[in-house]
Amino acid sequence: MSVFELQSLLPQIILALGATAILMFGAWFPSRKWILGGVFVSLLAGLSAGLIAPAVPEVANLYSVGSYARFFVMLWSLLGALSLLLSLRYAEIHDLPGSEYAALVLFAICGMGLLSSATSLIGLFLGLEAFTLVFYILIAFKRDDSRGAEAGLKYLVMGAVATGFLAFGISLIYAASGSFHLPESFAGLQQAGGMRALGLVGWAMMLVAIGFKVSLAPFHLWTPDVYQGAPAPVTGLLATGSKGAVFASLIPLFGALGPLKAELNQILWVLAALSMLAGTFAALPQRNLKRMLAYSSVVHMGYLMISLLVGGPEAHRALVFYLIAYTIATLGAFGVLSSFSGVDDEPQEYADFRGLGYLHPRRSTVLAACLLSLAGIPPLVGFFAKFGIIAAALRGGYPGLAVIAILAALASLYYYLAPIVVLFMQERDARELRRGCRHEYFVLALCFAAILLLGIYPTPLLDLLAGVVP
């Protein structure tokens, strides 16, 4: 590895070294202030990705450092910084070790960045495992919480199975084509009349693994329990970054597949439709905010699969836009959850939220805006996100999926309005304040502003994506 390649990988190096440093110094000087150090490192990595031009286009035939990859590195760095800010008070009241927490989140961000920039199947595997391993720990970070332990174990077992599938799938594709590097490894799968059988089996296994990671139906069953058991800021990161990074890596992956993608279209169709339907039906009866968000995320993953299925630059731009809209709103929702959590309780059940709307009007408004944006109500950013996906589906010739998407959006209003009704339309006698902190308010204000401004004027982001997304 040359100096130039190291320079090109600077953001990841900053994240990894920063995390190690925080971990080591944190052992000597334990303090929760290390989380702020993590915020600083994360922002530094994001800035270096944005400002310092890489010297080489690709590092070690594993990772791209093109504008697409750097865009996502910046995005996940920002996400990591915001998640850490949200965790500050949470770590304080739940007595979580600050330096370990910050270091783990930084490692996760590093892995997400690597995954999003993977140009080879090995790079993909490494990036994915890098942050999945971290999440095994983060989910069960509250050691004395049995729910957290259960969630961690569940994620570990499911994740290990998925890893097995991924490794096996990659090795089959390698066996069929003789290369890990992206265009070549798929070019080798071509044969007269379609894809080689070995390649198809390999892809099937990879899709299973991907399905587990982003919780597509029918591989989504771990999602609600893990969401519920994990600490709220961790769930926020898990719901946004870990799924988003996988989708970010899938765009070049499917792009490299070229015309062979036609072989997979039927499976992708079924995955998309099944995720939207299963997620919707499972989310409808939920009375727990975290579980509802878990099932609704399955629906959102179904939406994202639609544009992956359609393919082409416009659909991919719609996908990334949707991903960003989903990330902002989900982070905001889990941010409000962590900011409402007290010393020994984390409000999750709808009953816990009764009448909070007038007790904490600002944070409740942010939560309502996030949920309505997820539901795709204009003038919030979720509307143009859904608009892009539905337009892509119709343009790509999938009116059936567009209709399912519309129906799912209609049904989604039912489960997204339920917490809003509880917040604002039900009275409550007991008046206990749930105090948050400045850092949380800052993140929530940022999310709220982004949801509203990008909903009213999405042109800058769309222009940016037009330049970045291949």
Binding site: P378, P379, R395, L410, L413
Partner: protein, 502 residues
Amino acid sequence: MIDSVLTGFPILSLVLWLPFLGTLLCLLMRHSAVACRWLALLTTLSVLLVAVGLFVGLPAEAGWLLSEDYTWIPSFGIRYSLALDGISLLLICLTAVLQVAAVLISWKQKEHPALFYALVLVLETGIIGVFLATDLILFYLFWELMLIPMLFLIGVWGHENRVYAALKFFFFTLAGSLCLLLAIISLYLIHGEQTGVYSFAFETLKQTQLSSGVEMLLYLGFVLAFVVKVPLFPFHTWLPDAHTEAPAAGSVDLAGLLLKTGIYGLIRFAFPLFPHAAQQSLPFLVVLALIGIFYAAWIAYAQTDIKRVVAYSSVAHMGFVILGLAAWNQLAWEGALLLMVNHGVTTGGLFILIAMLQERTGSRDLRLLGGMWKSLPFFSAFFLLFCLASLGLPGLSNFAGEILVLLGTFGRWPLFAALAAAGVIFSAAYMLRVVQGTLWGPLGQVCKLGDKGCQHEDLGRREWLLIIPLALLVIWLGLYPTPVLEPMRGPISLMLQAGGLP
């Protein structure tokens, strides 16, 4: 002179965003209820001032009188384009009048006043936006923008069964809206594939060549969204619940304005974009409108809650409007649009009076009320006036619209017109039952149970101020509707030509 002032100045954006500015100020000053309500009143009054200024200052011509057009989201071909013609001008004036009334009737709002006025003002922005937008996505945005404030107005400040009513309203309209969205995007893509120009501009999309099957499908998507809002039988079931549970301002806005957006959507977008499909659908619309007129009257007669009676009467009146539109000629359309404006004023007035009655007696139940004329003579006189206007007494507002609709319809479908005329008698039956049950007869149980000798205070100063202008409007629109008919004449004939006269 006014033209030269208006050409350079974005007056449409001013009318549109003024209420929104009021919303933001309300939220800023949320700790003072008094400041909020004065702010809301000032905002709605200034919107009214601008609207009346436009009404007086603009010539009664066909075509767009004012327009604005800016780039907004070029990558999707979405533009911020507003335009105003005679019809939208009238509806904006109606909106401005009723919003002032809505603020005044909720003057004593005690629960979360800042949020309440903020939502009423956002609602005004949404409604005016619907009447102004000519880019379909912009239209859709405002269309949806009306939903959220209404959801909260009903759900937070409504009566007993409010959450159920709010959600029912929301889901009915949203189901329709999503069909509309799907149809809009399909039309956009079809047009883009044909010409290579991806645009949501109404004038551009009108040029799209459609096969008859696709045209019918897209038309149905549009019409479904609009008739749910109108509401046409059998899509009306959300309306009685929403009206009954909504607070006074919510009922006024629902009946006076939101229902009109559905009609407006039909004539502005659904009919001109899909003229052939529209022609084919007219007989179905007539039948549904007629069923609506009689069915709603029948149900209204059986109600005991005054608000529910008025709600069903709205369904019947909207049946008349749809009947007039389906007759598809100048006279009937003028009548239909006039009836739409008149219905806004009369029903708005009725809901305001019902709110005053409920404030005094705590009841809207016809079985418990009665004999109000003795204790509330002034109130009762106005109540009688608005009830008579609503049932279509000649000389009062609704009659002018109804008679034009019936005359216009008679030219095309004599039988249906004759049937619909019978519907007027039905409306007399249920409205007079309301009058009888409320104003006349022996003192009702409400009085006997409650206060000594049933002493309620008659109209206060604020209430006089509120009800006098509306009463004058009712009489003016009934006796001399020409100033209202004039600005809509040109646009209607343009629309009928563009839609292809039979």
